[in-house]
């Protein structure tokens, strides 16, 4: 079990292309994150928890669906860590598993309104489902 978690963690790091060890824990990414108040774990915590292999809480947290992919943390990190890419990689580790789609096609009709652009739906599906 421990081994497979470690493998998954390595896989998350690999596919994100992020090197969490570059982080100097300044917290600037979380300070600028527009989803901060709705996140249980914040961008800098994603970086630290992936670095230390403590990914279980992240996999089970709603925080992975709160990231807006605004790339603010990517541009404002003084160390070029790019935390958003780790948040994405953790989310993919969850939604890629069978039956783990966070947004299902059937859920969509009731979320629609007259003016909602298609762009919102395709974006949400791309982020929340596989």
């Amino acid at each position: 079990m421990e081994n497979s978690k470690q493998n998954l963690c390595n896989e998350i790091v690999r596919r994100s292309g992020v090197n969490p060890r570059k982080c100097m824990k300044c917290g600037k990414c979380s300070g600028t994150c527009p989803a901060y108040d709705e996140m249980e774990y914040h961008p800098h915590q994603f970086v630290y928890m992936v670095e230390t292999g403590d990914i279980e809480p992240l996999l089970n947290s709603k925080s992975i669906y709160r990231c807006l992919t605004c790339f603010a943390c990517v541009d404002r990190c003084p160390r070029g860590v790019e935390p958003a890419k780790l948040v994405e990689a953790v989310r993919l580790a969850v939604v890629r598993e069978q039956g783990k789609n966070h947004l299902k096609a059937d859920d969509i009709p009731e979320l629609l309104d007259e003016e909602l652009p298609q762009q919102a739906i395709v974006s949400a599906l791309r982020k929340y489902s596989k």
């Binding site: 994100s16 989803a35 807006l68 979320l111 298609q118």
Partner: protein, 258 residues
């Protein structure tokens, strides 16, 4: 001059003013936007994961189509542009990724050769704001307009390379060229909430209201955007300031607004 054009799904439906006026204004300015045949939806957001292949193929096919024609690829929607430009950068810089993608477009091979422009960049870098100014027949004199960049036009700055990520000027320069007065405000490059509107209406509301109230405080009479989802979020969450596409403003100044 002819350029390849990627309209995207939303411009064909909910955001027709973004598309129609972009085409008409380009014609007035001497550029024909040639729609890529059989383009497919860009997917709305770029997936940063390096092993995501399928979600990036529609962008690569459009880029490769433009390459075959020897044309730059232009889009107007901030989201399409962001996805296409980030995909192009990945094709240039990530060999392993490019190798996998190229298996799907064989016998062609693509390595990021196509020049990608947002329509705003086309105006600034190809046509030139000075030339544009000469074509203005109805200057928007005395109007106070706030540009809303949001996230996707500018970030990630290293890849998008459109403007200074924290202190952009491209839209303000456009507003000036059209004869209006740009309103600069703090939240012009902060997120409106984007697709979170489907997941958390409260969060989208909070983010959008910060943008519109900030623009209003600074005296804006209108907000312009290049993104249908930004426009939706800003309007949906209550704003006293009208939110329009920058192409509508452009068409007005060029005297072709219907």
């Amino acid at each position: 001059m002819k350029v390849s054009y990627f309209p995207g799904c939303t411009l064909k439906t909910k955001a027709k003013d973004l598309d129609n006026y972009a085409r008409k204004c380009a014609e007035v300015l001497g550029v024909t936007l040639e729609e890529i045949p059989a383009w497919q939806c860009c997917g709305g957001v770029f997936t940063t994961s390096r092993d995501e292949i399928a979600t990036k193929l529609s962008s690569v096919r459009a880029l490769n189509d433009a390459k075959q024609k020897g044309q730059p690829l232009v889009s107007v929607c901030s989201a399409c542009h962001n996805v296409i430009k980030q995909t192009n950068a990945a094709m240039q810089n990530d060999e392993e990724f490019a190798f996998k993608v190229n298996n799907y477009i064989s016998p062609d091979e693509y390595h990021g050769e196509t020049k990608v422009y947002h329509y705003l960049e086309l105006l600034r870098d190809v046509i030139g704001f000075d030339k544009l100014k000469e074509k203005v027949v109805k200057p928007l004199t005395g109007r106070k307009i706030a540009a809303y960049y949001g996230c996707l036009l500018l970030r990630p700055g290293k890849v998008m390379a459109m403007d200074d990520v924290e202190n952009p000027t491209i839209m303000e320069d456009l507003i000036r060229a059209l004869g209006a007065e740009p309103v600069v405000y703090a939240y012009r490059n902060e997120c409106c909430g984007g697709y979170i509107a489907l997941e958390s209406k409260e969060l989208a509301k909070e983010k959008s209201q910060k943008v519109t109230s900030n623009a209003q405080e600074k005296g804006a009479e209108a907000i312009v955007t290049a993104c249908p989802l930004c426009r939706y979020n800003l309007i949906k969450n209550g704003t006293e300031v009208p939110v329009v596409y920058f192409t509508e403003l452009l068409a007005e100044a060029l005297g072709i607004k219907e």
